[in-house]
Symmetry: C2
Subunit: 342 residues, 2 copies
C-alpha cells in the first residue's frame, strides 16, 4: 500500500468517525418498532466516509468551516445508506459490509420502508437555515433533490438494461449510466455542495462537476473490478455478486465484444436467465472468460485513463484555490480510487 | 346516494382535475427510460383528489387563495402516489385503480425505484418560496417531512404485525396504527397545511389535527369495509385483498375476539401462512365468518362513532371560521367517509 493511500484512508477514517457520531445522534430520536433498529443497521456497520469526507474537505478547501458543511455531509451519508437498502433489494444482494443485507434480515417490505424513512431523515439536516442562511440553504436543498432524481434515473437505466437483457452497449453507454447512478451522488454532489457552501456560492461549479465525473467513474470501475477480485469477504459484499446479478460492468461490456459469436450467444443466454438459475460454475466461467479475454486489463487501463482525465480536471477546478492539506487530500483521492481494496 | 354525497363527489372531482393537470405538468419534464412512464402511471389512472381537495378547501376556509395552497396540494398528491407504489409491492397487491399494480407491470426493482423518484418529485413544489415566503415555506416543508416519517412508522407497524403474525391487538392498537399510516398524510396533514397556509400561520393547528384523526380513522374503517364488500372491480383493488394479505383490519381484530378457541387457532394459523398459501376457499370463509360474527356490523358502528367524534372535533376546529362553501364541503366529508363506495 502506498504512503498516499494510507494517508487518504486515515483522513477518510477521521471523517467517517465524525459523520458516524452525527448520524447516530440524528437517528437516536427514532424509536418506532420495526423501524428504529432497521434505519440504524447500515450506518452502524460503518462506511468509508468518502462522500461526507469529500464534501467537508471541499468546503474547507474553499475556505469554509467544517461546521457549515456538516448538515449537507450527514444528509449525503444518510441518503447513501438509504440508496444501499433499496439497491440491495433491487439487486437481490445478500451481503453488505460483511453482514446480511437488510431485506435478508427483515424481509423486503420492512427493508423498503426503512429505506423510505432513512431518505426522509436525510433531508432533515437541510431544513436548518440558521447556519447557512435561507438563500444558500435553499440552493443546497435544490442540489440534493436534483441529485436524488439523477440517481433514480441512473438506477432505472441499470435495472432496465438488466430486466430487458440489453447487451448492445458501448463504454459510452456505461459512462452515461455511471455518471447518473454513481458519480452524481458519490463525487459530483459532494464537490459541488462543498464548494457552494465553502465559497458561499461565489465560485462556478461546472469544473467541479467535470472533475467529479472522472473521479466517480474511476471509483465505479474500481468497484466493478473489486467485485471480481479476491474474496467477497474482503469487500463485504457477495463474492462475484456483479456477475451473478448480471450487472452491466465495464468488464462485461468488454467481454461481450471480445468473445466469438457462439460464446457471445451463450453469454447473452446466461444474462437472460433469472438470477437464481445462474449456476456457480457458470458464474466462475464468466469470471475466467473475463481474465482470458483481457477484460480485467481493459477495465484497469480504462480506470487509468479516467484518472489522467480526473487529474487534468482537478487542476482546472482547483486552479485558483490556495494549496492546503484539504486540496492535497482531494487530489490524493484520484490514486486512491485506483488502488483501494475496499 | 345522498345529495350531500353527490355534492362532495362533484367538488372532489373538480379538485382532482385541477391537481391532475398540475401533476402532469410537473412530471412532464422527466424523460428517462424505465422511469418517465412509470412515475406517470398511477397519477394518470386518476384519484379521488381527497388529500389535495381537503388541503385547498381548508386553505380557502381560512381565507387563503387556491394558488397559495397548490404547491403543497400537488406535493401531497405525488407523495400519495409514491406511497401507493411501495405499498402495493409491500402488500403484494395485484390491482390498483382497476389496473395491474406497478410492480406487476414492470417488476419490483423498477417499481420501487419509480416510487423513490416520485417521492422526490413530490418535494420540488415545496422549494418555491416565492409564493409563501421563506418562513412559511419552511414550516410547510417541516410538516411534510414529519408527515412522511410518521407514515413510514405506521407502515412499519402494519408490516411488522403481519410479518410476525401479531394477533393480540385491540381497537386501540388499530387506532394507533391508523393514526400513523393513514390519518397523518390523508387528513391531518391536509388540514394542518391548509390552515397554516390559509391563515398565514396565525391559527393553532392542534384542534385541526384532532378533527383530522377522527375523519381519517372513519375513512380507513370504510376502506377496510370496502375491501370485503361487493366486487373488487368497483373498488379498483383486489377483491377481498385485505383478507388475503392478512391485513389487521378492524373487522379482523373483532373476529379474532369473537370466535371460539378452535376457530381462533385456525384463524391464527391462516394468518401465519405465507400469502400465496392462502386458498380462495379459506379467504371466502374468513369473509363469511366476519359476516356471521357481526364483524362488519361492528366496524360500521365503530365508523359511526368516529363520525360523531369527528363532528364534535370539527365544531371545535372551525369554531371561529366564517361559514362558507369550503367549510360546508369539509363538514360534508364526514358523512362522505361513511358512505363512499370507491
Amino acid at each position: 500500500m502506498s504512503a498516499t493511500l494510507t494517508t487518504v484512508e486515515e483522513t477518510l477514517a477521521g471523517y467517517a468517525r465524525l459523520i458516524g457520531e452525527e448520524v447516530e445522534r440524528r437517528l437516536a430520536r427514532e424509536d418506532s418498532p420495526y423501524l428504529a433498529s432497521l434505519v440504524r443497521e447500515y450506518p452502524r456497520r460503518g462506511g468509508k466516509g468518502m462522500r461526507p469526507g469529500l464534501l467537508i474537505a471541499t468546503c474547507r478547501a474553499f475556505g469554509g468551516p467544517t461546521r457549515e458543511a456538516l448538515g449537507a455531509a450527514v444528509s449525503l451519508e444518510l441518503l447513501h445508506n438509504a440508496f444501499l437498502i433499496h439497491d440491495d433489494f433491487q439487486d437481490a444482494s445478500r451481503r453488505r459490509r460483511g453482514l446480511p443485507t437488510l431485506h435478508e434480515l427483515h424481509g423486503a417490505p420492512l427493508a423498503i420502508n426503512a429505506g423510505d424513512a432513512l431518505a426522509t431523515f436525510a433531508l432533515e439536516p437541510l431544513r436548518d437555515t440558521s447556519v447557512l442562511g435561507g438563500r444558500l440553504a435553499r440552493r443546497v436543498l435544490d442540489e440534493v433533490l436534483a441529485m436524488i432524481v439523477q440517481t433514480t434515473e441512473g438506477q432505472a437505466l441499470e435495472l432496465g438494461w438488466r430486466r430487458d437483457n440489453v447487451v448492445a452497449l458501448a463504454p459510452a453507454d456505461y459512462l452515461e449510466l455511471v455518471s447518473k447512478k454513481t458519480c452524481c451522488y458519490s463525487t459530483v454532489a459532494p464537490l459541488r455542495l462543498g464548494a457552494l457552501i465553502g465559497s458561499r456560492a461565489t465560485v462556478p461549479l461546472r469544473s467541479l462537476a467535470r472533475f467529479g465525473f472522472h473521479l466517480g467513474a474511476a471509483f465505479q470501475v474500481r468497484d466493478d473490478l473489486l467485485s471480481v477480485m479476491g474474496s467477497g469477504a474482503v469487500h463485504g459484499k457477495d463474492a462475484l455478486g456483479d456477475i451473478r446479478e448480471g450487472k452491466r460492468t465495464l468488464m462485461l461490456l468488454h467481454l461481450l465484444g471480445a468473445v466469438d459469436a457462439s460464446r457471445r450467444a451463450w453469454l447473452v443466454e446466461f444474462l437472460g436467465e433469472p438470477e437464481e438459475a445462474r449456476s456457480d460454475a457458470d458464474v466462475a466461467l464468466v469470471r475466467e472468460l473475463m481474465e482470458r479475454h483481457g477484460s480485467l486489463e481493459f477495465a484497469r487501463a480504462y480506470a487509468d485513463r479516467l484518472a489522467v482525465a480526473a487529474d487534468a480536471a482537478f487542476e482546472d477546478a482547483f486552479a485558483g484555490v490556495p494549496r492546503s492539506e484539504h486540496v492535497e487530500f482531494i487530489h490524493a483521492l484520484i490514486p486512491y480510487m485506483l488502488e483501494r481494496t475496499a
